[in-house]
């Protein structure tokens, strides 16, 4: 594990200064216009400082506890485990306030923004989960929020758009390119250039220019740290044999893996077959960082396509690219049909309708338990990154479109 020392801060230790240059092997960096470099540097300084400040940690921990409902539960999936012959534990980010792990990161960044004297948050959003989380954190801390969202996503996710508005955020339609998350991210970066002195760009995953991939992982490591401690109480072996999370930008996976990189657990990241930057992409730069990127033979960035809107991103966080290259994490993909089946299977065995994104991790477990990749009797921790309420309309459409989905 010597290649990823920054991930090894032990749970509960006194905050240590983060020494990182923002590189993960060949990946990462800060590929932004010169105009944005000082803003990134300021975020880096502020974050490094805050992360080493016990008061900041205490404030954040308290917000996570009293507002976001942390720690989230670790649920033994009794019936599914019995059916599969494998002990499945679910880390329940679906129970966090606003319905996904996104809140962990935005509360951290919103506190940081306040510390930096910023009065406004900018954010990109695809399906709307990060946008809702950002709007939530902004309301809570009395900041304004401007959320960039592709025009097509605005049409598809009207309920989340309205949630953001109810929370007082301004939702700005993005009409460039494919008018989806990728373009919303570009637009948020463009907007940041002109208001970096008063606004903090609250990026939603472990991507973007340094320090975002590191910072967002640190804000999400609470998932892995909690799960590690909970597994120690729940499992005779203390550590599960396998740890599985879905990978879009990669923040819930990074946060989960952060708790287990120093263990012997086998780590598995599951991408959407139609948005698998690691599995099907090539190294490239996008949105300020170097990583695997879906692109055509001319270097134009591709569009991702997944039934899970939150995985519709053609890039992936740079640390994942590095973890893939070093082999520490195994990345794989599942297809939309398996994902839909996994939502239904988990709902019927455990009474949990998880997000379509999270169902990618579940789908891999179902497949691997059947194929023998997960041996009988082994233990698997699965991060449920969010709840499926936002996906019910999609599930209904899938049912109506294809009778065999259930």
């Amino acid at each position: 594990m010597a290649t990823v020392p920054a991930l090894l801060t032990p749970t509960g230790s006194a905050p240590a200064a983060l020494a990182t240059d923002g590189r993960f092997g060949d990946y990462g960096g800060r590929f932004v216009p010169e105009a944005l470099v000082p803003a990134c540097e300021e975020v880096e300084r502020a974050f490094t400082d805050a992360w080493a400040d016990p008061r900041f940690r205490r404030d954040l921990d308290r917000l996570l506890a009293v507002h976001a409902g942390r720690p989230t539960a670790l649920t033994p999936a009794w019936r599914l485990s019995a059916e599969l012959g494998v002990t499945v534990l679910l880390k329940r980010e679906d129970l966090a306030h606003t319905g996904s792990h996104k809140i962990n990161n935005v509360l951290g960044q919103a506190l940081l923004a306040r510390r930096m004297g910023r009065g406004r948050l900018l954010a990109e959003t695809g399906a709307g989960q990060h946008g809702v989380a950002t709007a939530t954190a902004a309301a809570l801390l009395g900041l304004r929020a401007t959320v960039y969202m592709g025009e097509r996503d605005i049409e598809r996710q009207a309920l989340n758009v309205y949630r953001m508005e109810v929370l007082g955020a301004e939702v700005v339609p993005v009409r460039t390119g494919s008018r989806t998350l990728k373009d919303a991210t570009s637009e948020a970066l463009r907007a940041w250039v002109s208001c970096a002195d008063e606004a903090h760009y609250c990026l939603g995953s472990v991507m973007g220019p340094h320090p975002y991939p590191t910072m967002v992982r640190e804000f999400q490591r609470v998932i892995g740290d909690e799960a590690r401690a909970q597994c120690a109480r729940e499992l005779p072996t203390a550590v599960p044999d396998h740890v599985v999370a879905c990978v879009g930008g990669g923040s819930n996976a990074a946060g989960t893996f952060a708790g287990f990189l120093g263990t012997g657990a086998r780590l598995v990241g599951v991408e959407a077959a139609g948005g698998a930057a690691i599995t099907h992409g090539r190294p490239g730069t996008l949105h300020g960082f170097r990583s695997y990127v879906l692109q055509d033979e001319h270097g134009q960035v591709g569009e991702a396509h997944s039934v899970a809107a939150g995985l519709d991103y053609p890039g992936v966080g740079p640390e994942h690219a590095h973890l893939a290259d070093t082999g520490r994490v195994h990345y794989t993909t599942v297809g939309d049909d398996e994902v839909l089946a996994a939502v239904h299977r988990l709902a019927r065995t455990e009474g949990i309708i998880c997000a379509l994104e999270s169902a990618h991790a579940v789908a891999w477990v179902l497949r691997a338990a059947t194929s023998g990749e997960l041996p009988r009797g082994c233990t698997v921790l699965v991060t449920l990154s969010g709840r499926g309420d936002k996906d019910i309309a999609t599930l209904m459409a899938a049912r109506d479109g294809a009778g065999d989905v259930r």
Binding site: P33, E34, A196, L286
Partner: protein, 264 residues
């Protein structure tokens, strides 16, 4: 400063000597792949451009505003690629140096050395990659240097003094001074941030300092020329193309800018 700070390529020499002669430099932007783009290069040269920026379209141009974003989308939709553009450039027999502007993924996709070699083969003398800031520029700068391509760096109103000096010293061809904290686009007046940045840069280097981003009218060009060595003009010209104006007509807009600069 190393030797790299004092040498420069064809673009560097060309613009340096013109500026030294007291001429206000004018560098217009052409989005490669839009209808008539090749003719437009000739029109611009004829209308008094000192160099022409050739934009290679990219799917996710984070320093570009709505006009150039739309131009890139249209160019891509028409099948434009770096390869098709570079293949056409030698045929233009351009009368002024050409500077390619594109985003880092287009460069890194081929690898910087191969990309720079292709630029040289196409007769290009400069390269601007706005999402490779100074701190990330070493590899690309080396590749440019190896092929004699002038690597134009950007400075911004937010760039701190220390780095401003490094950008000023390392930039080749000219220093691209961002007139505003923002993206490309059409703005009515020269932003207040521009004069200060231009003055700071000019105090740091003998390389020409050109103001870009948002400069669109003869008035703002004239104001820019008063504080810098010239201007880069993009969106105002690209908008003409998007609105269907032909190369001759767009050339006349450039000529008006030339006149404004010369009167300054």
């Amino acid at each position: 400063m190393s030797a790299a700070t004092v040498t420069g390529g064809a673009l560097h020499r060309h613009l340096g000597s013109r500026a030294a002669a007291g001429r206000s430099l004018l560098v217009p932007y052409v989005m490669a792949g839009l209808p008539g783009w090749a003719e437009l290069v000739g029109e611009f040269a004829a209308a008094g451009a000192d160099a022409v920026e050739i934009g290679l379209p990219f799917s996710d141009p984070i320093l570009d505003g709505p006009v150039i974003c739309e131009a890139a989308e249209r160019a891509l939709a028409g099948g434009t690629t770096a390869a098709t553009v570079l293949a056409e450039l030698p045929g233009l027999a351009a009368q002024v140096p050409l500077v390619v502007m594109t985003y880092s993924n287009i460069v890194l996709h081929r690898g910087a050395p191969a990309f720079c070699a292709a630029l040289r083969a196409a007769g290009v003398s400069g390269l601007i990659v706005p999402d490779v800031p100074f701190a990330e520029a070493a590899e690309l700068g080396g590749a440019c240097g190896a092929e004699g391509i002038d690597h134009v760096l950007l400075a911004a109103p937010s760039t701190p003094p220390g780095r401003l000096g490094e950008v000023a010293q390392r930039s080749r061809g000219f220093v691209y001074a961002s007139a505003v904290m923002g993206t490309t686009g059409v703005r009515e007046h020269l932003p207040a941030t521009a004069a200060r940045l231009a003055a700071d840069l000019k105090a740091l280097t003998g390389t020409p300092v050109l103001l870009g981003l948002g400069i669109s009218s003869p008035a703002s060009a004239r104001a820019a020329a008063a504080v810098a060595d010239g201007v880069v003009v993009g969106s105002a010209l690209v908008r003409d193309v998007l609105e269907g104006r032909g190369p001759a007509e767009v050339g006349r807009r450039l000529a008006a800018l030339r006149t404004a600069l010369d009167e300054a």
